[in-house]
């Protein structure tokens, strides 16, 4: 009896998730009347605006990841090593982006960094790009920080640092050569998650008027029928790929740990 209900709940849940995925895949293949075809994909992939916005978002994601790592790894390391009393506060702050909706944060950017302000970031294209990248870094902060901090917990950073110092290493060397390789898996999983978040992000890019992939998808959705479904399939595959890589990487780490 218990098993019956258990299977029932599981199958109901699976149906709920499989049907939309099936629906969008099915729809994306129906552009040509009467037969299944990859026309929708061909149209999307051939669209120069797709190529431009997708490239833009990938570059933004990579920039966000680099900036996020440079910001989070030294900070998390330093806080654990020298300022442990600060940890609860930092942790609280890094969780704030989950509480404050992205639309509110970007609203603040627009008012704070407009052309007539002390830091007119939105005045130039480069400035706006940088602002958007900072915005993405803020959105990714909870995931990045948590991931890296957990990674640091599992290694004895105090001993590693002292050992490196006794061999004459400077701070940059310690961070780049000792700490980073040891938390690489944590950094990577934070990076993949950041990538998944940035690549389809809509709100910030739309309100800052940047030609990113998210607003492009929305625009296409408002005007076309089949192409959006093709985009949804590709996005899902991309998300799946990123999170699959996280699984792979962390499994790899487990294997490496049990081997030593």
């Amino acid at each position: 009896m218990r098993k019956f209900w258990a299977w029932g709940a599981l199958i109901f849940g699976m149906l709920y998730f499989i049907l939309p995925l099936l629906g969008m895949t099915n729809f994306s293949l129906k552009m040509r009347r009467g037969v299944y075809s990859l026309d929708a994909y061909a149209v999307v992939l051939g669209d120069p605006r797709f190529q431009a916005t997708f490239t833009y978002s990938i570059l933004m994601a990579l920039a966000t990841i680099v900036f996020g790592v440079l910001l989070v790894v030294p900070t998390a390391y330093w806080v654990r090593l020298k300022l442990p009393g600060l940890r609860p506060y930092i942790e609280f702050v890094t969780l704030l982006p989950l509480v404050i909706p992205a639309i509110v944060i970007v609203f603040g950017y627009i008012r704070l960094y407009n052309t007539s302000s002390w830091l007119p970031l939105t005045g130039s294209i480069t400035g706006t790009n940088i602002l958007l990248m900072f915005g993405y870094a803020t959105l990714a902060l909870p995931y990045m920080y948590r991931s890296v901090d957990t990674g640091l917990r599992s290694i004895d950073i105090a001993t590693l640092t002292e050992a490196a110092q006794s061999l004459g290493a400077g701070w940059t060397t310690i961070l780049a050569r000792i700490i980073l390789p040891n938390v690489l898996v944590a950094v990577l999983s934070g990076a993949f998650l950041t990538f998944a978040i940035v690549i389809g992000e809509f709100t910030m890019a739309a309100l800052l008027n940047r030609p990113a992939f998210g607003p492009y998808m929305q625009l296409l959705g408002a005007n076309r029928a089949y192409e959006p479904a093709a985009l949804a399939v590709m996005s899902f595959a991309l998300t799946w790929g990123c999170l699959g890589l996280i699984q792979l990487v962390s499994r790899f780490q487990k294997g490496a740990q049990s081997a030593t």
């Binding site: 989950l98 509110v104 609203f107 900072f134 998650l193 809509f202 996005s235 899902f236």
Partner: protein, 296 residues
């Protein structure tokens, strides 16, 4: 510090090293201040300011008009509905897998899939549901042509309260599964056995022991899912355009083009969002701390 004065004088450099420690956290502090705290404060302060900068409560008062209140009300309703259903369905699935005696191998794939699905939000999610429950979607067409059920005629519309709720569930349910599975794992076998040997039936065990233990996690996750749905902008816009007047869509339109005719009313609108999600998350953090204390 002063208690050291009787000992040998410390090296002259020592007092100057203290600020250097703090400098290590400075880049992070500056970043967070500039791109998280200050923008948010700007909104909060702006909500209480007139255009020329003096203090006022008019903006907040301005929220209490029928159209804005109803936007909040629909937003809150959708968030509550999708959070409640997400919790219930997610809980059923998680407990089926953890406690229902299903094969062990299901667990790993389920959690991996939940991780992916809970991040599959935004624009593409809306497309997936349009392609499924929209006017020419997979299920709509199937029901109409094969079973003769016309969803439209029954009053169902994907661009509606229920349409949005069902769509949100796609990321709400997996999030619940991800959070509640560890809590279900935390139910010790001994608690069930201790209850049984003391004469409790299975129902009594659930009512008096397991459910109260899970309740904080359950309510906490409810609050988190609520905030999650309340702040979701992209899915709503991609799904409904501007046909459904919920707070995030209203705010989006206001930022784009001052549809309310008063820039500072936009601040108040955003401030209201912070207040609602802030309350929900405070509840979450508080309840979570409580359940962690128990499960120590």
């Amino acid at each position: 510090m002063s208690s050291d004065s009787s000992a040998a004088p410390p090296p002259a450099r020592a007092p100057f090293r203290l600020p250097l420690h703090w400098l290590g956290a400075a880049p992070f502090a500056i970043f967070v201040l500039l791109f998280l705290i200050m923008p948010t404060m700007r909104i909060v302060v702006g909500a209480f300011q007139t255009p020329d900068g003096s203090f006022t409560l008019d903006n907040i008062r301005g929220l209490f008009t029928t159209s804005i209140l109803s936007a909040y009300w629909i937003s809150i309703k959708i968030s509550i509905a999708s959070a409640l259903l997400g919790c219930l369905i997610g809980f059923s699935v998680a407990s089926a897998v953890v406690l229902g005696g299903l094969p062990k191998w299901i667990r790993g794939p389920l959690l991996t899939f939940s991780g992916v699905a809970s991040n599959f939000a935004g624009v593409p999610l809306a497309f997936a549901f349009l392609a499924t429950l929209g006017p020419v979607g997979l299920i709509t067409v199937f029901l109409k042509s094969q079973l003769g059920i016309d969803l439209r005629a029954l009053g169902f519309n994907i661009l509606s309260f229920w349409g949005l709720t069902i769509t949100y569930l796609f990321f709400q349910i997996p999030l619940m599964i991800l959070i509640i599975t560890p809590a279900l794992d935390g139910l010790k076998r001994e608690w069930r056995e201790a209850a049984q040997i003391l004469g409790a039936t299975n129902a009594q065990y659930w009512r008096m022991v397991a459910f109260p233990i899970l309740l904080p996690s359950f309510l906490g996750t409810l609050a988190l899912l609520f905030a999650n749905a309340f702040g979701a902008v992209a899915t709503a816009i991609a799904l409904t355009g501007s046909s459904l007047s919920i707070v995030p869509i209203l705010l989006f339109a206001q930022i784009r083009g001052d549809v309310l005719g008063n820039p500072h009313l936009g601040y108040a609108l955003a401030f209201g969002m912070i207040v609602v999600t802030g309350i929900a998350n405070t509840i979450y953090i508080w309840l979570r701390a409580r359940s962690e204390r128990w499960l120590k």
